[in-house]
Each structure stands twice: as C-alpha cells, then as structure tokens.
C-alpha cells in the first residue's frame, strides 16, 4: 500500500471515502435521527467526539493490546466514550437528548467507529489516527446535515426551527417520518451514482477522442 500524507488521511474521509455515502457504513443513525437539523447536529457532534476520542486512545495503546482481544478492547473503549457523550448531552441539551433517545447509546454499534479503529487507528501513530478520525467525523457530519437539511426543509418548512416559506407552505410530513428517511438517502445515493456515471462516460469519451486525434 502506498504511504499517504497526513493531508490525505484527513481529506479521504470527508468526501472520496465518505463513510456513509461511499462505504455505506453507519446507516442506522443517518436514517434515524436526521428528521431535523438540530438532531443531526447533536448526533454528529457526539459521533465526532467518540470517533476522535477512541481513535486517539486506540492508537496510543496499540502496542500493548494483544491481537486476540483487540475487537473487545476497541468496543470497551468506544462504549466508555459513548457513556461520556450520553451523560454530557443529557446535562447540556436535555431536549435533544430526549429526542435522540436510545440512538445516542447506539453510537457504540456504529460501524464507522469500529471500522476506523480496526482499519486505521490500530496501525498508525496517534497524530495520523486523530486526523483520519476527524476527517471521517466531518464526512459523517456533512452527510447528516445534508439529510437533516433536506428532510427538515421539506417536511416542516423550516431550517433549525426557523420557518422559511411563510404560513401557506403545506409541509411534506412524510419526509420527517421513517419512509422519508429511506427516500432521501436513496435519492442522494442515486444522484451521486448518476453523476459518477456521467463523469466516467465523459472521461471515456475524452480518452477515445484523444486516441482518434493521435491516430
């Protein structure tokens, strides 16, 4: 494997290897808590904190963790950080904590976090592990805010609780209900794949055009 620069470690998770949109990890929170921008923000902040914290700790202790019990060790570290995040949110923003309910605790089984520990933090020095975690955390945040933005604007006609369209707007209530979550993510993924296809087709056309000119 080619050695990556710290900058690449950080940027990969944000877009090119976006944990939700490209590798399809962490779908449960992406669908479950994105019915408003405020919920998405709180969920992203909690996940970001857990991801960076556990990557830091896993990377620091990586030399002393026996290979056989590594997964259980990671899970325990993650669960500890999630307990901290859970209690912090309950103390700081009790309303949002109530709205997110069990999904804060379910950050423990978010595959993005365990995935980064196994794939990156356990093999790399602390600085790079934290950069990688931060990149993935930001990538996750972008996806959640995108989902939360679309669903709240269409489903409630507001953004972060501020009404956008005036009193005559008839909200698409379905968008803030479970089917709307599936639909929004589905449409986002389909649009991305359409863009991707167009880009490859254009690149191919350019390549054949260049070949013809050369001949």
């Amino acid at each position: 494997m080619r050695k990556t620069t710290p900058r690449e470690d950080f940027l990969a998770g944000i877009w090119r290897e976006n944990p939700v949109l490209v590798t399809a990890l962490g779908l449960c929170p992406t669908l479950a808590v994105t019915n408003s921008v405020a919920n998405s923000l709180a969920m992203s902040a909690a996940t970001f904190f857990v991801l960076v914290g556990s990557s830091f700790l896993v990377s620091s202790v990586r030399r002393w963790v026996p290979n056989e019990v590594r997964i259980s060790t990671y899970i325990l570290i993650i669960a500890t950080f999630v307990s901290v995040a859970d209690m912090a949110l309950a103390a700081l923003v009790p309303d949002i904590h109530k709205a997110l309910g069990a999904f804060i605790a379910l950050i423990v089984v978010n595959c993005i976090i365990l995935g980064r520990q196994e794939a990156f933090a356990s093999k790399n020095p602390v600085g790079r592990a934290v950069l990688d975690a931060a990149g993935n955390g930001i990538g996750f945040t972008i996806t959640l805010l995108l989902m939360g933005g679309i669903r709240e604007v269409l489903g409630k006609g507001s953004f972060l609780g501020v009404p956008l369209f005036g009193p005559h707007y008839e909200p698409w209530v379905i968008m803030i209900l479970p089917p709307g979550g599936f639909l929004t993510l589905g449409v986002i993924l389909l649009s991305l794949s359409a863009i991707q296809r167009r880009r490859t087709r254009r690149a191919e056309a350019a390549a054949t055009g260049a070949a013809r000119r050369a001949a």
Partner: protein
C-alpha cells in the same frame, strides 16, 4: 394477556424494528439478496434477541439497580460474550443448525437491533415475560422485513432496470415504500 399481545404486535409490525425504527439495517441491506438466507438470518436474530432479553432482565434486576452508569458497557460486553457462547453451544449440540446459521451469528454482535432491544427494554421498564415477548415480536418483525425485501430483490434480478439504479440507492427507495406500507399498521393503534 392483552398487554402482552399488544407488546408483540407493536414490536412486530407497528413499530417494526427495521422499517420504522431503523435498527438492524446492516443485515437488511447486506443479506437480503435471497429469501432462504433472509429466513435464516431472521431466525438467528430472533434467537439471539430472545436470549439477550433474558440476560438484560437479569442484569437490570440484579446488577444495574446498584450501578446504573455501567449500563451501556455491561450490555455490550454481555451481548458480545453471549453471541460467542451461543455459537459454541450450537456448534456442539447441533452441527446442522450451526452450518445453517454459522456465518450469521458473529455478524449479530454488532447488529444495532440487539443493543437497541436491550436499551428499549430497560427504558420501558419491561419485566421478565414482557421482555421475552418484546424480543420475540422484534425478531418476527426483523424476519418479516428481511423476507419481504429479499422477495422483492429476487424479482428485481430479472427486471430490466436502468443501469444507474443498480445498487444501494434502489434498495433504499424500495425500503421507503415498504416503510410507507408498514405505516398503515399504525391504524391499529386508533382501532383498539
């Protein structure tokens, strides 16, 4: 008795774990390609869910009453070890069943449906019997969603769909319509 039936029905269809509460999406997206595997995955999940409910009840009653801050950590440790014990036991007692369920059992450890069940059961204060019925309902609901999705995807194999829609995007749109259909069950709430 009516209460128990209600818990079962609510977990199985009205608040379906996968389609209404977004739990256990990984198997829903990952192993819903064939009906036969979907049924086995559903069965493995139901089995682990029920045993988890028993363990969570014991933990809640005897240990966590004294140390509530350990809730999350103890749940995850118990679930992880439980799955390994179940795997070893089935391997010993019934090699046939193990061959059927084998590869799915480890996957269940990181399935949010199991931890979700443990947390919901605790938050709602379910007792022993209620917990077991809740777990059975959740398992039936998961299996139902998996089998429905798998049957649709089997038919899609032969359908002529635009190339751009091949992949996760289409599955999510199908899940969206399934979820919409399951919302109809909410009518049962007002009916009773």
């Amino acid at each position: 008795m009516g209460n128990l039936a209600w818990i079962f029905l609510s977990a199985a269809v009205i608040n379906n774990f996968t389609l209404a509460m977004f739990l256990g999406l990984c198997p829903f997206m990952g192993v819903s390609g064939k009906v036969s595997t979907a049924v086995r995955m559903g069965a493995a999940n139901t089995f682990v869910l029920t045993i988890t409910a028993l363990c969570v009840w014991a933990l809640n009653t005897y240990i966590l009453a004294r140390a509530p801050y350990l809730q999350l950590i103890s749940f995850i440790v118990v679930i992880a070890s439980l799955v390994q014990i179940v795997e070893a036991t089935i391997k010993k007692l019934s090699p046939v069943l193990f061959r059927e369920l084998g590869i799915y059992l480890p996957l269940i450890t990181t399935n949010c449906a199991i931890l979700g069940l443990a947390i919901f059961q605790t938050n709602r204060g379910y007792g022993f019997l209620e917990g077991v019925v809740f777990a059975l309902g959740a398992g039936v609901g998961l299996t139902l969603a998996l089998v429905l999705m798998a049957s649709i995807r089997e038919s899609l194999e032969l359908a002529d769909i635009p190339a751009v829609t091949r992949g996760l995007g289409l599955i999510l749109i199908i899940a969206s319509s399934l979820s919409l259909a399951f919302m109809g069950f909410a009518g049962l709430l007002s009916g009773s």
